[in-house]
């Protein structure tokens, strides 16, 4: 997050500098984000501030005077200055002086006694804040890692796609086979239907012809039997019957 701000900060001046080249210069010389961003990651904060003696005078002053005056130099200088200011009344002793002395004494006492514990308390608060941010950062890193893993897994699935395609191909082939056979069966049925029709038509024709012929023959025969022939045949039949009756009478007696 901070690196993005840093990137924006470094990108803006570099783009500005490139734009100062006249319009005639090829725009191909514009500088884009080619190098490493120099502000990210930010360097960590220093642990301790500059050392200060007596809470008021930085250590550099003591080091500055050390070669010429040794260790006691700055203290002697300080004492001398204070005495000079008092004696020449550059610093005037007023009633305020005493209140100043007591207040400063109280402050020094309080700071010496409770300074360390207050510092630790502040450090703990800081640590809590940092831990919260760290949590957020870790959570988002974990989220991204999970997303990356999911992507990788899905990409790996691409290698196994051919199984799916094989199954689909098999299914399609089976469906094709089934429709082919169905249609074959239908064709067979239809053809059989037509042939049966022709056969039944033929049968019917033959039957009709047979019946017609039989009827015609019967009619011819009936017509051909004249009246006289009929009488003769009837008389003959009666005579035969009488003979048969006689035979039949004879037989049961035996």
């Amino acid at each position: 997050m901070l690196s993005r701000v840093a990137l924006a900060a470094t990108a803006a001046p570099s783009l500005k500098n490139a734009a100062l080249l006249g319009p005639g210069v090829l725009q191909a010389t514009r500088i884009f984000h080619t190098g490493q961003p120099s502000l990210a990651p930010l360097p960590p904060l220093p642990e301790y501030g500059g050392k200060v003696r007596l809470g008021l005078i930085p250590e550099e002053f003591f080091q500055f005077l050390y070669p010429k005056t040794g260790i006691t130099g700055p203290y002697v200088l300080g004492t001398g200055l204070i005495l000079y200011a008092l004696s020449k009344e550059i610093y005037v002793i007023t009633p305020e002086t005493f209140s100043t002395i007591s207040i400063v004494g109280l402050l020094v006492y309080v700071i010496k006694k409770y300074g360390a514990s207050i510092g630790e308390f502040a450090d703990k608060l800081n640590e809590q804040k940092i831990a919260q941010l760290e949590e957020v950062k870790q959570a988002s890193i974990k989220q991204f890692q999970d997303a990356i893993d999911l992507e990788k897994a899905q990409q790996a699935l691409v290698q196994k796609r051919h199984y799916l395609f094989d199954v689909q191909r098999n299914n399609i082939a089976m469906a094709l086979e089934v429709t082919y056979r169905e249609r074959l069966h239908r064709v067979y049925k239809e053809v059989k239907n037509r042939l049966d029709y022709h056969i039944s038509v033929q049968d019917m024709m033959r039957r009709k012809e047979q019946e017609h012929m039989v009827n015609w023959v019967e009619k011819q025969v009936v017509r051909s039997i004249s009246a006289q022939q009929e009488k003769e045949t009837i008389a003959k039949c009666i005579a035969d019957l009488k003979l048969l009756a006689k035979k039949a009478q004879v037989q049961p007696v035996l």
């Binding site: 904060l45 220093p46 501030g49 809470g55 008021l56």
Partner: protein, 88 residues
């Protein structure tokens, strides 16, 4: 790198005493320059004494002491009349 660095680019600690006036005159007195001076000074103090992990009381106390001295200097004119002796 030139062996003789012109006066303008030297830092204050490297300037010899005789060159001090010319060095002061060569500084950037435009409004931008003055703003830059204040910004640099503030950031130097801030990043060294305040913007650290374990800052001490000296970060604020130095500023307060400087303020005390400054206000004493401003009110010296009135304080002169409360001197205990006339001749020193």
């Amino acid at each position: 790198m030139a062996l003789v660095i012109p006066v303008k680019e030297k830092k204050l600690m490297d300037v010899k005493l005789g060159e001090l006036p010319s060095w002061i005159l060569m500084r950037d007195f435009t409004p931008n320059g003055i703003l830059g001076t204040f910004q640099r000074g503030y950031h130097r103090y801030y990043s060294e004494y305040i913007n650290v992990k374990k800052g001490s009381i000296s970060g604020i106390s130095m500023v307060l002491a400087a303020y005390v001295l400054f206000s004493y200097c401003l009110s010296y004119k009135e304080l002169k009349h409360e001197r205990l002796r006339k001749y020193h």
